[in-house]
């Protein structure tokens, strides 16, 4: 560090930290956001494209050596390092320590700052990303040097899964975000309407970090393969409405991507299709506004992955009616041909399910520490392979359903014997296929209710199958509600006009 402190700090960096520090002290969220989103990127592009920013000790003299500012600066410093360079093990550990110190400060309530939602989201997002990255790195034991192994053994608390989960959980609890959202819903508190900011002189930091930590927990649980618990962590957020999570595009996408993926794994395909459709339409319409954003590449990547997940959902549950035309057109262009091959359920089809899943799934992790016993083995693929295997197992269980669906679509009544002969199976087998169809197309919702995901439905009366092609029921009720509210608005507007 000593050599580093004497390194020259460019004037533009000096000016950056001085201004940033001042804006933070003056709680000027707008200016902080500008500097954070734009100046930091510009300077990074111009001066630190392939190197790290000056170390914190070098800039500390310009910001009164302020403890909290140092932590914030280091948070950005490591994030930039992770994005541009390959972090060393030592740097990974130090970054974890920095997050610990930062979160401790927030949790013990000594901060009185207002920070932009974008930055607070990035903190949670990056914290989880670095945890995931560490688990991947640690699991590649084969090519570790003796020194690295020594360091790993010594620092077994760094990025420890208990520590990571407990920090997120502590932020959720200490922020009392569950209660805040409850009061918000009852109209007793303005959280959503103010995008989480505090306009009464307080700080938004703990509240909003707590809020985003719920999404962080959803993501960590998905990385661990615990989809049920992940969705539970998200329950306090009503994702059908606008909320603070939609105020930052990255948080919006992360939430829906993991929500949709978890529902796919829980076989609630319709729920997955609905939410993927909504967010993909949103991205389709707003993409151009994010072109300059540092998150643009990430947005595009997740966009592509969600099309792949949508293709999987629709192949298992062909409810194309739920998908908007614009999204459907994109989907056909990207996956139309693959999707028709996926319907065939032969070996090639399984290879396609494998391909799309592998491309679009989260980067699953093994959270436990490695065994340091020789021979050292890589286990970074274990978690992914398990989730893939179980997913393909599910696909296999559904392989006969696509055939039965094709027949059901063209008959209104058909006897079991006749359908069995068409499908070239015996009658008892056909009965099991039909029951499997029913079981797989009826999922259990979060509240325990049975939900039908079936596009074509039927019932058996003794030996006859009666088919009902479920027409999409138009949501007249919602439509009328919206129109009533809209007309009321127009009438109020008109009332204000005074006719002379």
């Amino acid at each position: 560090m000593d050599a580093a402190t004497s390194e020259l700090v460019p004037d533009s960096v000096k000016s950056f930290v001085v201004h940033m520090y001042r804006h933070i002290r003056e709680k000027n969220v707008y200016e902080i956001h500008q500097m954070y989103e734009s100046s930091f990127q510009t300077l990074s592009e111009r001066l630190f494209k392939e190197t790290a920013w000056p170390v914190v000790d070098a800039v500390a003299p310009y910001v009164d050596n302020d403890h909290v500012f140092r932590l914030l600066y280091k948070e950005m410093w490591y994030r930039h390092l992770y994005a541009k360079l390959a972090p060393t093990l030592k740097q990974r550990i130090d970054s974890f320590d920095n997050y610990c110190s930062l979160f401790q400060v927030v949790l013990h309530g000594v901060v009185n700052m207002q920070l932009p939602n974008q930055w607070l989201w990035d903190m949670v997002d990056e914290f989880v990303y670095q945890f995931q990255s560490f688990c991947q790195y640690r699991a590649k034991m084969k090519n570790k040097t003796e020194q690295e192994i020594g360091l790993l053994k010594q620092n077994d608390q760094a990025w420890n899964v208990f520590g990571v989960l407990n920090f997120l959980q502590a932020l959720v609890e200490k922020s009392t975000i569950h209660e805040i959202l409850q009061r918000d819903k009852e109209g007793l508190e303005q959280f959503t309407a103010n995008d989480g900011y505090d306009y009464n002189g307080g700080s938004n930091v703990l509240k909003v970090l707590g809020y985003f930590s719920m999404i962080g927990l959803l993501r960590v649980h998905c990385l661990l393969g615990d989809y049920h618990t992940g969705l539970n962590c998200l329950l306090p957020i009503d994702i059908s409405q606008q909320g603070v999570f939609t105020s930052v595009i990255g948080s919006h996408i992360t939430t829906i991507y993991h929500y949709g993926f978890a529902n796919l794994m829980l076989r609630r395909y319709v729920e997955g299709i609905r939410e993927f459709n909504k967010i993909l339409l949103y991205i389709y319409k707003t993409k151009q506004f994010h072109q300059k954003s540092p998150q643009y590449e990430q947005i595009l990547k997740k966009n592509e992955q969600m099309y792949a997940l949508l293709a999987i959902c629709l192949s298992l549950c062909p409810q194309v009616k739920l998908v908007e035309e614009a999204v459907n057109a994109q989907l056909r262009e990207k996956y139309g041909e693959k999707m028709s091959r996926m319907q065939r359920y032969d070996d090639e089809a399984f290879a396609l399910y494998d391909e799309l899943f592998s491309y679009a799934c989260p980067k699953f992790i093994t959270p436990s520490s490695p065994s340091f016993e020789e021979p050292l083995v890589n286990y970074n693929q274990d978690a992914y392979r398990l989730q893939l295997k179980l997913f393909l197992y599910e696909v296999k269980q559904q392989q006969l359903l696509s055939g039965v669906r094709t027949f059901l679509k063209v008959y209104s009544t058909i006897s079991l014997a006749k359908l069995a002969s068409y499908m070239e199976v015996d009658e008892p087998t056909l009965r099991t296929i039909l029951m499997t169809y029913k079981h797989k197309t009826h999922s259990v919702a979060a509240n325990g209710k049975i939900m039908s995901n079936a596009d074509v439905d039927f019932y058996i009366d003794d030996d006859m199958i009666h088919v009902i092609d479920s027409k999409p029921s138009k949501r007249y009720g919602d439509y009328f509600l919206r129109q009533i509210a809209k007309f009321e608005g127009v009438i109020t507007e008109l009332d204000r006009v005074k006719l002379e």
Binding site: V161, F162, L165, N166, L224, G225, D226, Y227, H228, T229, N232, M265, L266, R267, T366, P367, S368, D382, R385, L386, Q387, K389, L390, Y393, E394, Q397, P428, R431, T432, I433, L434, M435, T436, K438, H439, H442, S443, V444, G448, I450, S452, D457, F458, Y459, I460, D461, D462, D463, I468, S470, S473, K474, R475, Y476, G477, D478, L481, I484, A485, E488
Partner: protein, 226 residues
Amino acid sequence: MGRELENEQYTVEELVAVNPYNPDILADLENYVNQQVASQTYNLDANLCLLRLYQFLPEKTSTQIVARILIKALMAMPAPDFSLCLFLIPERVQMEDQFKTLIILSHYLETARFRQFWDEAAKSRHIVEAVPGFEQAIQAYAIHVLSLTYQKVPRSILAETINIEGVSLDKFIEHQVENSGWAVENNAEGQVIILPVNEFNHPELKKNAADSIPLEHITRIFPILS
């Protein structure tokens, strides 16, 4: 963290709610699994919490407890709990024979092959009989799938699906007629059981339900209506 001293005062549900990421509750959760087995109760959240702790601390894994959790999860069908548990159990643990058997049993249930299921279960009595209520729970699932599929089901199909025959089946049907709205009809080939009406075996009932509006949404126009 620091809460372990107070464990005595919490129920296991509260421990899971308050402090789910705490290795110190592992033993409590294991006892709780045994308690669920003995008292024929079930708590998925607590069991997932335990599997998660095993995932974090693989050396602490008790395969006996894992097996019990999986059997309880099978009993929760049609809910996808069995897969939810498998997602958390490392592959090398799943290689054990008892788990292979349970995975096969789950596969038969998932694909509605009840005859194979009952045959396989009979061969593995030592595994499934350790959990009271197993047979009844699977029968309840079988009836659930039948009621999704059939308005009227032949007696022989019912017998095969729930693995009950003869006089016992007569008694079973009689009980369902009295308590669950079943009816019996006789035709040329024998008895046919009429299952209670629901929106899945009478899909025409579903349409009305689809356009229902939750009260919450209606409240939005209350100010306008008043």
